[in-house]
Amino acid sequence: MAKITFIQHNGAEQTCDGSPGMSVMETAIKNMVPGIDADCGGACACATCHVYVEPEWVDKAGPRNPMEEDMLDFAFDVQDSSRLSCQIKVTDALDGLRVRVPAKQF
């Protein structure tokens, strides 16, 4: 189990248990975290599971893959810490991961 904290635009925090192997997006959906729409269901085809990884976790979460980089063109306000949460696999090393949810997926 890895604890993953989702921080809403208004500062509200929700910490969920992520199972290794699942994606951060799936963890959010399973726990009904608001603001993670995941329209395409995790196919890396829509950019509606966009999150900002908190600075201290950026390295551990790893770099974006090329498909994800392309898809982020469809997101709004892309920052250096932007990731698609369907492309971050939960691992024990990510226990404590903190990600911010944008004000709006679009």
Binding site: D39, C40, A43, A45, C46, A47, T48, E69, D70, L72, D73, F74, F76, D77, V78, A103, K104, F106
Partner: protein
């Protein structure tokens, strides 16, 4: 006035469920026209995940969205359904029992006995970036598609995005625009390499500008844009003077006009019964992702089942009082004749 297309059934949506509905309706001799907002069949399979494998189609251990679509098209070929792409059904009017009129935004008019809504997550529409105040410029200075190129002649055009739409329109509108700027968040593009090369040539020739960054705000008055405020990749903010902005951020699914057809809705889905998959309006069916009922699963295979049961009732509407003989394609010579295999 446009010619009215008269048919037994109009299917709204050419995704997998809409396509399979052609098959099931075809077996019971219900003739179909299929309308879709996209420029090709496949729905989400074509637009969202053409290359992604699907693992839960019975008897196809692995199939991509594009392959599934082409196999369905092959399967329904004997039934000669007619397809109308780039058309959004905007109006559904009931004139009487099993007498419906449908109109599209492209000016098509249908008259049919039954209507099958197989619209998935709704219609694919351009994504509108959540830039504060963008609404007040839509239609005057901000456009999400190009309907007539001439409308952009002599304008200071800013195109935002890095896909094929962004690059194609940059290249096509550059000769007629007063000025052309392409803005993208990175110096890599999803668009075809050839288009990117052309764009870079235009930049090298001094005919247009390419800037890196993302739009954060808009400046203007009374619906007329004067500049877009952009955050550059170095974090600095600058303005790009423009009176015409075209953001190309891909497509998203919106329920769209379905909400205005007088059908009962539940959380943007269309409730149906599970015997006929009919909506609150007799003769109007809903199958696939767009419907809801107790236990509903948004699976392609569920939509196939729904299409089969829907077709039974559609037959009854087309042939009141007639009994439908249940037959198997393996053994029925009449079904095999329809399929062209006998």
């Amino acid at each position: 006035m446009s010619d009215v297309i008269t048919t037994d059934a109009v299917i709204i949506g050419a995704g997998p469920c809409g396509l399979f509905a052609v098959f099931e309706l075809g077996l019971v001799d219900v003739k179909c026209h299929v309308v879709d907002i996209l420029d090709r069949p496949g729905g989400q399979c074509a637009e969202l995940y053409p290359e992604k494998p699907i693992y839960d189609i019975p008897a196809l251990p692995i199939v991509t969205g594009a392959e599934l679509t082409s196999r369905l098209l092959e399967q329904i070929k004997p039934f000669g359904a007619e397809f109308h792409y780039n058309q959004m059904v905007t109006e559904l009017i009931k004139h009487g029992d099993n007498d419906f009129e449908l109109k599209t935004d492209g000016g098509l008019v249908f008259r049919s006995k039954v209507v099958v809504i197989a619209a998935g997550g709704g219609s694919f529409q351009p994504k509108k970036p959540p830039i504060p105040g963008i609404d007040s410029y839509e239609g005057t200075s901000v456009f999400y598609s190009v309907k007539k190129m001439e409308a952009f002649r002599g304008r200071d055009v800013l195109i935002v995005g890095g896909g094929d739409s962004a690059l194609d329109w940059t290249i096509n509108l550059q000769p007629i625009a007063k000025s052309m700027t392409l803005l993208h968040r990175r110096d890599d593009f999803r668009a075809a390499p050839d288009s990117v090369k052309k764009m870079r040539e235009l930049v090298a020739e001094g005919k247009m500008q390419f800037r890196l960054g993302q739009v954060t705000g808009l400046k203007g008055e009374a619906g007329v844009l004067s500049a877009a405020t952009v955050k550059g990749n170095d974090g600095a903010t600058f303005d790009i003077a423009t009176n015409t902005m075209l953001p190309f951020f891909g497509l998203t699914m919106k329920l769209g006009p379905v909400a205005e057809w007088g059908l009962n809705l539940h959380e943007n889905l269309v409730p149906v019964d599970t015997a006929k998959f009919e909506t609150s309006t007799p003769g109007v069916f809903a199958i696939g992702d767009i419907n809801t009922y107790p236990g509903k699963l948004k699976l392609i295979l569920s939509g196939f089942h729904e299409a089969a049961l829907m077709a039974q009732q559609a037959f009854k509407y087309k042939n009141p009082g007639e009994r439908l003989l249940f037959q198997y394609t393996t053994s029925s010579s009449s079904l095999q004749k329809k399929l062209g295999v006998n």
